[in-house]
Symmetry: C2
Subunit: 207 residues, 2 copies
């Protein structure tokens, strides 16, 4: 009952999908991507191996599926900002909302182990592009720009997602441990400050 918009059947489907994605992420982050078979993932989610492929076309897709929730957080946080606020400022707040989400942190930490698997990385990036598109639609909805004539909505959305990715990479120490040991919200602010400055380098003199 409750809100019967999603019927009983649809809820079961969503539950199975979530269970498969969660099992895939957990098993692969624990044992490594290539040491986990689809059969094991299906077992952990208590469905038949064949059923796995009714939801995902590959292991990688299942592992990355959880990112969709971050997309929702990002878009909703952006949409919730006042419409007269400058777009980049709204995006800064939206990115803060994402990195503040405990589920996002959890996922980032699990993903950390899985870096270096090219195929998985590739699918991860595909998930980011999906984020970009969803966010671009929200920008269009606010600004009323015509995406066929104006590439601003796509660009600013892509820039925001890219900025988030760069911030997370930096935070994970992909380019060496940052001696300042900054946290994720701080790095997001740095990224957006660079965008605000038109990407003009203002690097301080080296220590």
């Amino acid at each position: 009952m409750a809100e019967c918009a999603p019927g009983r059947r649809e809820r079961k489907k969503a539950a199975t999908r979530t269970a498969l994605a969660a099992a895939a992420l957990r098993l692969c982050s624990e044992h490594g991507l290539e040491h986990v078979t689809v059969e094991q993932i299906a077992d952990a989610a208590d469905v038949a191996p064949r059923t796995f492929f009714n939801y995902f076309t590959s292991k990688e897709e299942a592992v990355v599926a959880g990112n969709a929730t971050s997309t929702d957080v990002l878009v909703e946080a952006f949409a919730a900002r006042p419409a007269d606020e400058p777009v980049p400022e709204s995006l800064r707040h939206a990115l803060h909302a994402v990195v503040a989400d405990p589920q996002h942190r959890e996922r980032v930490l699990r993903m950390r182990v899985l870096r270096g698997h090219p195929t998985l990385l590739a699918h991860q990036l595909a998930a980011f592009v999906a984020q970009e598109r969803a966010l671009a639609e929200a920008v269009v909805a606010r600004t009323g720009a015509d995406p066929a004539r104006d590439l601003y909505p796509m660009l600013v959305a892509a820039a925001a997602v890219t900025g988030l990715r760069v911030a997370v990479q930096h935070w994970l120490g992909d380019h060496g441990a940052d001696p300042r040991d900054p946290d994720l919200p701080q790095l997001v602010d740095e990224v957006m400050a660079h965008f605000d400055a038109g990407l003009r380098a203002v690097t301080a003199a080296p220590a």
Copy 2:
């Protein structure tokens, strides 16, 4: 003979790799990704199927491999700009060099047919990330910034590659046919102008 730095053996290897990548791109763009087998690609390149996997771990990787040449063009064009030029301006010129490369246009047009295959798209994006890293190194080499403390090099490189991607997507009509029918260099300029303006929306009134 000639410059013997790359020995006879290495040249053969590079030739085989190129032949495999070219065959993969050609066959897949003609018949569709899923209607081409590794065996056919190997045949077209005149090697055994097993040999294919000595060079690439998947069909997708082979199809996308050609992008490495664009990376070289991008990085070299950036490095060739005067060191006292602002980084974004150098990047603008470097992006122009890429889109002016006939090989790049050829590849973009072939890839056009292959959009919509999620797995291939994913690997394509992975190739872009490789571009970002190479470009970031060039930025580090010019500015002397410490990538462990400063995320500017990674960010500006990622922004440039993302901008190129957005421009190409727009050019291919992913968001509807642009009535202005702009060319690629023009779109690159628009992208960089948006970055220069700090991504502040200055959308003109709709027609």
